[in-house]
């Protein structure tokens, strides 16, 4: 492992230790409520950028995957009383399968057509769940949290730590893909699919892989949400807000580097949480829109692009 790799894993472990310490030291539940949402958005944004950023297939179906994750957990919990770990693992498996199906779409659809198809996917799945009595149908379902496991004092703290673990998994995967031949192949097919094929890149297989990983992570991120809210209903689980946020966070952070979506999610997620507390939750969407417009106009490569430009200028200045 090279120096960067060691640094990354040391950082990841420090992050998890800090998260664990937080749950032991801080008694107030609110910070965990707020941070959970931010962590959840980090996973969604990182997952989105694996397909949308690296491969250039803009997915508007984040909410479909998220919702499927939520309802996988709901179903397993109601039917078998499955524990949280099983809920998340099963959601990831179903997300991978759904991602595979989405990947097959890329066979025939590119650009805006692919994006529209992902919106259609969301609507189809949401409608199906709305008509599924067992998980509560349109009126939603109440969830009773099981007793919390030690060393956590409350269920929300535990969910917070679990989501922190998912963040590490998602970021590690994105980072691996970016630095490996998979990432190079995705970048090549994003630039020019035919040229990539003719240079030996198995474009379909790579797109399927990106869809599967992205889908699994999104579903896994959604699975703990039912327990977090103690309630699930189709219109909030499949809310378009997840799709828009994941996309906006990735684009604002920049998709050229795995850190982009992380930065974007922290920035936007924190802003949204602050606004929700200080003003109202409705202002969120407005802020999201305004920031997206500002970045598209001023920094189309996102924050990562800005940083790179500054660095390059500085190097030029020295040279």
């Amino acid at each position: 492992m090279n120096r960067n790799g060691i640094l990354f894993w040391v950082g990841a472990i420090l992050f998890l230790v800090a998260a664990l310490l937080m749950t032991q030291v801080i008694g107030n539940e609110y910070p965990f409520f707020a941070c959970y949402v931010i962590l959840q958005f980090i996973v969604l944004a990182v997952a989105w950028s694996i397909l949308g950023g690296y491969a250039g297939y803009v997915n508007f179906g984040t909410s479909a995957f998220f919702g499927v994750g939520v309802y996988t957990a709901v179903f397993l919990f109601k039917a078998f009383g499955a524990p949280l770990a099983v809920q998340i693992a099963a959601a990831a498996a179903i997300g991978a399968f759904l991602g595979f199906a989405l990947g097959l779409l890329t066979l025939r659809m590119q650009g805006i057509y692919f994006s529209i198809a992902t919106i259609a996917l969301t609507i189809i799945i949401e409608t199906s769940v709305t008509n599924w009595r067992f998980v509560g149908g349109a009126s939603g379902i109440q969830m009773q949290r099981p007793p919390v496991m030690s060393p956590f004092n409350s269920y929300v703290q535990m969910l917070f730590f679990v989501q922190a673990l998912l963040v590490v998994v998602a970021v590690a995967m994105a980072r691996y893909i970016q630095g490996s031949w998979v990432g190079r192949g995705l970048q090549a097919l994003k630039d020019d699919e035919l040229a990539a094929e003719c240079t030996g890149v198995p474009t379909l297989r790579l797109k399927l892989l990106a869809c599967v990983i992205s889908g699994a992570l999104m579903c896994a991120a959604g699975a703990p949400a039912a327990m977090y809210l103690q309630y699930a209903d189709p219109s909030s689980a499949f809310n378009l807000n997840y799709s828009v946020s994941a996309l906006a966070m990735s684009l604002i952070g920049g998709t050229a580097h795995w850190a982009g979506p992380v930065i974007g999610a922290i920035l936007l997620g924190t802003t949204q949480q602050l606004l929700t507390v200080t003003i109202s939750s409705e202002v969120n969407v407005l802020v999201l829109g305004v920031m997206l417009v500002l970045f598209v106009v001023g920094a189309p490569e996102g924050i990562i692009g800005l940083i790179r430009r500054v660095r390059r200028n500085r190097n030029d200045g020295e040279g």
Binding site: R184, D191, D192, A196, C198, G200, V201, P202
Partner: protein, 470 residues
């Protein structure tokens, strides 16, 4: 090494490719032996690139098989073919734009280079640098692919193809859009590759030199024409890094048929598009004088230029394939001045092309190439044009149809007094009806001849069209 006894490296048998009603490849069979240098020549639209696309797997073929090293690869996806040793460059370079030159090659090394054991990262870096050095791109290794010049892009495409360790390299017009000295450079590179155990298929435009002795001059008698003159002065135009036109100066006077001659990729279409307002010139002037009024074409939009009475018959015809013949013709009469004369122009179109009359309700996309070309010209007539720009009417047509189409254009000029500027690469056909001609090479007018005889006697013409230069 007796090549006759060797099994063919690539065998294409009975390949057919159709696009709607247009047959691009009709029962093509080719055999290429290892170590061969195979040249594929033919005018634009004759199906060269289509054949390459079928060999490299970009197109699916209906009937026919492609066999490479004794393996049937007809059903394989392009990347599988690349891994088996078929590499290609593209007619219009297709670099990975978000990557540097070395990263472009890395994609090939990561995915296609078939070696016995996985090469270590430093080894691959060495391989890459040696390829770049051979291509003369070593200094550009860390430069973004978007910053390359046209000739560097061509070289990078060849380098990327080489990085896949090909057995067969297909170069699709690697010289298009390059200057003469650059053409030599790239040609030398290709030739140096050919000596290294790599079989090469090279596609280029070299005119089929079939000189026909019977070429008649247009008769002197014409319908009287109104005053019209097109003057182009010192015009530069291009697309991004590609400079398609350099300092082009030409003029067309009322009632003339002027031929703009040149092989493909030399800027003929760009010039036609400039006049029609589809491409903006970077420098120089274009003015059209009609009935004493001079208009600056460089400042006018395409629709305003059409309104002045300039009609373009685009290369490749550009019909509306899902509309009927009649609907296509009606759309040609969109110009205000033409709407008043729809009946007259329609009668005129059918009089000129009687074959179209019986096909009025047929969908344009289902017609043959010859019928489509007639319709394209007829559509232009519907706009009551004064100046007719015709871009490569011979594209994709059989010799007989080319001859008929050219004769029709001659008729339009003589009977209707239309002024015609025609871009063509078929020299012998074009000079049948032309009064004068220009020859354009690499975006520059190299010959401006005041008569057809002068054209025919010209040394450059002999070189370009009667064999001699690549």
């Amino acid at each position: 090494m007796p090549p006759e006894t060797q099994a063919p490296l690539l065998r294409v048998s009975a390949l057919t490719k159709r696009f709607g009603g247009f047959t691009a490849l009709d029962n093509v069979s080719v055999e290429i032996r290892p170590g061969e240098r195979f040249g594929l020549i033919g005018p634009n639209g004759s199906g060269k690139t289509t054949l390459i696309n079928c060999i490299s797997g970009a197109f699916r073929t209906e009937p026919g098989t492609v066999t490479f090293r004794d393996e049937d690869i007809t059903r394989l996806q392009p990347h599988m073919r690349t891994r088996r040793g078929i590499a290609r460059s593209f007619q219009i370079p297709r670099p990975f734009k978000s990557m540097t030159v070395s990263e472009n090659l890395m994609v090939a090394l990561d995915f296609a280079a078939v070696t016995d054991e996985a090469a270590s990262a430093p080894q691959r870096r060495d391989t890459m640098m040696s390829i770049l050095t051979r291509m003369g791109l070593a200094s550009k290794a860390d430069v973004s692919a978007t910053k390359l010049s046209q000739v560097e892009l061509r070289k990078m495409e060849l380098a990327r193809a080489m990085a896949t360790h090909p057995k067969l390299l297909i170069s699709d017009e690697a010289m298009a859009g390059l200057s003469s000295s650059e053409v030599d450079e790239v040609l030398d590179l290709l030739m140096s590759l050919a000596s290294q155990d790599i079989t090469i298929i090279m596609i280029e435009h070299i005119m089929q030199a079939v000189m026909r002795p019977k070429s008649w001059l247009t008769s002197a008698c014409r319908m009287p024409t109104l005053a019209l003159s097109l003057a182009i002065n010192d015009l530069d135009a291009g697309y991004g890094a590609v400079k398609a036109l350099r300092g082009v100066t030409l003029h067309v006077e009322a009632g003339e048929t002027v031929a703009l001659l040149g092989t493909n990729g030399n800027g003929k279409s760009t010039l036609m598009k400039c006049v029609a307002g589809l491409v903006r010139p970077q420098r120089g002037s274009m003015s059209l004088t009609i009935d004493g009024m001079t208009h600056d074409l460089a400042r006018l939009s395409t629709e305003a230029i059409v309104d002045l009475g300039v009609a373009l018959v685009p290369e490749g015809r550009r019909l509306f394939p899902k509309l009927t013949v009649l609907e296509n013709l009606m759309l040609g009469a969109f110009r205000k001045a033409a709407r008043r004369n729809i009946d007259r122009n329609l009668a005129l179109a059918f009089e000129t092309f009687p074959a179209l009359k019986g096909l009025q309700s047929q969908l344009a996309g289902t017609m043959s190439g010859g019928q489509q070309q007639m319709l394209a010209i007829a559509r232009a007539l519907m706009s009551s044009p004064r100046l007719l720009l015709i871009d490569e009417p011979s594209v994709g047509l059989s010799p007989l149809l080319v001859s008929q189409t050219i004769a029709k254009i001659g008729e339009l000029n003589q009977h209707l007094g239309l002024t015609v500027l025609m871009a063509e690469q078929n020299f012998n056909q074009a000079i049948r009806i032309a009064d004068r001609g220009y020859i354009i090479v690499h975006g520059e007018i190299v010959v401006a001849a005041d008569s057809v005889d002068e054209l025919r006697g010209n040394d450059i013409v002999k070189r370009l069209y009667l064999g001699g230069i690549a």
